[in-house]
């Protein structure tokens, strides 16, 4: 079972999320919080596997979720964090990944209505992996189609690049594209070579590397 603490300042969102979490078999909702202070004390008490939190909550209503994830990295490194956000902006995901992307996921808030994606995010984070909402990655990739590096990629390679940036594992990619794991690895090597990114076996570090490439290569 994945033990989850949920935090959101909106009653509607809390109710909706609690209901969705209730439908996921391997998830146990152990506590629900309405602001950052409550979340902080609850988490240190119950030490959950994963915190599922809104990005902004009282007191400042800006980026409490991301800041709390940073705090946990130091105080309770074993706790994973899934941040729900209304911003389809890569900058927020990058900020969440600032001191490492493992055990961190950045999802758009509308995933409340999407139990499968939510469950997957919780499982990936609990397993130590990272994840970025596919809508953000799509947006990044489609905005950078004219990038000289991206232009060099084949259609299949672009597809795989998106999946890497979303945080999918090689096995998952292989299954969803119905190719062998070996073929996926070959594609990934090719992509990293063409984009001149340092090759990295660690799936979490490569999420960040691809995101950095997609958001920042031009500036």
């Amino acid at each position: 079972m994945i033990r989850v603490v949920l935090a959101d300042d909106s009653f509607l969102a809390r109710e909706g999320l609690a209901r969705v979490l209730g439908t996921i078999d391997d998830v146990e909702l152990v506590a629900v919080c309405g602001d950052l202070d409550e979340l902080r004390s609850t988490v240190s008490d119950v030490k959950p596997d994963v915190v599922l939190t809104d990005i902004r909550m009282p007191p400042t209503n800006t980026d409490e979720g991301i800041r709390f994830a940073g705090e946990l990295r130091r105080s309770l490194p074993q706790v994973g964090v899934v941040v729900l956000s209304q911003h389809a902006e890569p900058a927020y995901a990058m900020s969440l990944f600032e001191d490492g992307s493992n055990q961190r996921a950045y999802l758009l808030k509308e995933r409340i209505k999407d139990p499968d994606e939510l469950a997957r995010a919780l499982r990936e984070v609990a397993a130590g992996n990272s994840l970025v909402d596919p809508r953000i990655v799509d947006k990044l990739v489609s905005a950078r189609l004219n990038d000289p590096g991206i232009e060099k990629l084949t259609k299949r390679e672009r597809e795989i690049l998106s999946l890497i940036a979303e945080g999918r594992s090689n096995t998952w990619i292989a299954e969803s594209l119905q190719i062998t794991k070996r073929a996926v690895e070959r594609h990934i090597n090719g992509i990293f070579l063409k984009l001149e990114l340092p090759e990295d076996g660690d799936a979490n570090r490569r999420v960040k590397a691809t995101l950095v490439y997609l958001t920042g290569a031009a500036a």
Partner: protein, 512 residues
């Protein structure tokens, strides 16, 4: 408004302004020659006897005004007029021709310099412009005086000992002639303002009459009371701007010169040279101080007008923005949600009878819901971009680039956070420039540079589109300028037809 029409005439690229038809050109040249000749003859009325020592040499002012407003191409008119005005019975031909060359050169130099120093608007509109007038005229007059005295010297008309006096009188005569006529022509060239109330007409008449009375009294009296004219000149400048100032000072000068040459007054000395010098210096001082005052007044009035207009535009821009949000909410998200409610009701009805159709309807409803969510997110972002507040300008510009339909290359972005007001304005500039490019430019590529020093943020957005963008009313560019100027920044727009559009903005960074 008359001011606009005037600015267009004065701002037109003057070197390219060649007359279209030869007949018009010839008429212009001859007209100028005639005016120049008339000016010279009038000038002779206002001077002591002798061909050399003019107190105010009016034709130089006439010629400068004509070439400044009409274009340098009319310079032969100056040549013809000057050749006609020369008194060949008193001067050797060589000296006469020499001084004519100096006079033509003087006019061309003054016009060229003045156009160089004041590139936009009327030189009378700012103290700097008045300074430019003084400087250009002084430079031109120095050239004419030098060439002229040399011609007279080599023709044997004057000896070496009189050289300095003649040179000085020549310089000051030309300068005061130009200082009287050029501002008068520039100020009165623009169409008269309409709709003056009765009281204002009366006041205008009173100013002129007071100037006449004071100038007549002050320049006839043998007591040194010349300073009496200044209150009237100041009155004219403060209340009637450039036109009032130039007219008042011209009227005053005419009376002073006439009385000094024909009767007596404070500038009447036994030495003609001394009389001339005093009168010339008085005219130069009166003209420059009155014009400076009028220029400051004009500058303030223009500034107040622009400020008022920009405040009105800001208010209407914010009204429009709210109206647009209202429209987007009504016609976008609200409509989708209403439609969704209908869909859900239909599905509820169908769910038992036709569960499969109900499922299709529900799936459609979900798609519609996703669209509504996307729309609301974009709308919220448009109202206030959270990424700008949370991550600063660089990330916010990257986010704009992601949303742009045209490829945006980010060449340079500031690494550090800046003052929030600066970031807001800068973000607005880039957003507006990208929006404009998407609407009008047909460009395939946009480039953005943003770099911050300690005191200023410089932004540049350039596209490779069709160009030809203007800052007309209603274009986003006007709102952009208003915002930037509201925080003390400046905007430069360059958009030649076919050459792409480049917007360069500098925004001062307030000291922390």
């Amino acid at each position: 408004m008359s001011e606009l029409a005037y600015r267009e005439a004065v701002d037109r690229p003057w070197l390219e302004r060649l007359p279209h038809s030869p007949v018009r050109y010839a008429a212009g040249v001859l007209g100028l020659a005639g005016l120049y000749y008339a000016g010279a003859k009038t000038g002779f009325l206002l001077e002591f006897s002798g061909p050399i020592a003019a107190i105010v040499w009016l034709p130089v002012g006439v010629a400068i005004s004509f070439l400044y407003l009409g274009g340098l191409a009319y310079w032969p008119g100056v040549l013809i007029g000057d050749l006609l005005a020369n008194n060949y019975s008193l001067l050797p031909l060589g000296s006469a021709l020499g001084q004519t060359c100096g006079n033509v050169l003087e006019v061309v130099i003054v016009v060229w310099l003045l156009r160089r120093l004041v590139r936009h608007g009327s030189p009378l509109g700012s103290p700097r412009g008045v300074g430019a007038i003084a400087l250009s005229i002084a430079a031109g007059a120095a050239v004419s005086a030098t060439v002229g005295t040399m011609s007279l010297l080599s023709g044997g008309v004057i000896g070496i000992h009189g050289l300095a006096t003649v040179w000085r009188t020549w310089l000051l005569g030309d300068a005061s002639g130009a200082l009287l006529v050029v501002p008068l022509a520039l100020a009165w060239y623009q169409p008269l303002p309409k709709g003056w109330r009765h009281g204002r007409r009366l006041e205008a008449a009173a100013v002129v009459l007071t100037c006449v009375a004071l100038a007549e009294f002050a320049s006839r009296s043998s007591s040194p009371l010349t300073y009496l004219v200044f209150p009237a000149l100041i009155w004219a400048a403060l209340r009637f701007g450039q036109r009032g100032a130039t007219l008042a000072v011209a009227v005053t000068a005419v009376f002073v010169v006439w009385n000094t040459t024909h009767y007596a007054g404070p500038f009447h000395f036994t030495s003609i040279t001394r009389s001339v010098l005093s009168t010339q210096l008085f005219i130069a001082v009166a003209v420059l101080s009155t014009l400076s005052l009028a220029a400051v007044v004009t500058e303030r009035e223009q500034f107040a007008l622009r400020l008022g207009a920009s405040r009105r535009r800001m208010i209407s821009a914010s009204d429009n923005a709210r109206r647009r949000i209202e429209h987007d909410l009504h016609d976008g998200a609200q409509l989708r949600l209403t439609w969704l409610a209908l869909r859900l009701r239909d599905s509820a009805e169908l769910v038992e009878r036709e569960p499969e159709r109900a499922a299709t309807l529900l799936a459609e409803a979900e798609g519609e819901l996703q669209l509504a969510i996307d729309e609301l997110r974009e709308l919220a972002n448009g109202i206030h971009p959270a990424v700008l507040v949370d991550f600063g300008l660089a990330e916010a510009i990257k986010s704009l680039a992601l949303r742009s339909a045209i490829t945006v290359e980010l060449r340079e972005l500031p690494a550090e956070r800046l003052d929030p007001s600066v970031e807001n304005v800068a973000y607005y500039v880039v957003a507006e420039a990208i929006a404009n490019a998407q609407k009008y430019s047909e460009a395939s590529l946009l480039e953005v540079w943003a770099s911050a020093s300690k005191h200023v943020l410089r932004l540049q957005v350039a596209d490779n589109g069709v160009g030809g963008a203007t800052e007309g009313s209603g274009s986003g560019l006007e709102g952009l300028r208003d915002r930037v100027e509201a925080v003390g920044g400046s905007v430069e727009l360059s958009s030649p037809a076919g050459g792409g559009t480049r917007i360069a903005v500098a925004i001062p960074i307030p000291a922390a």
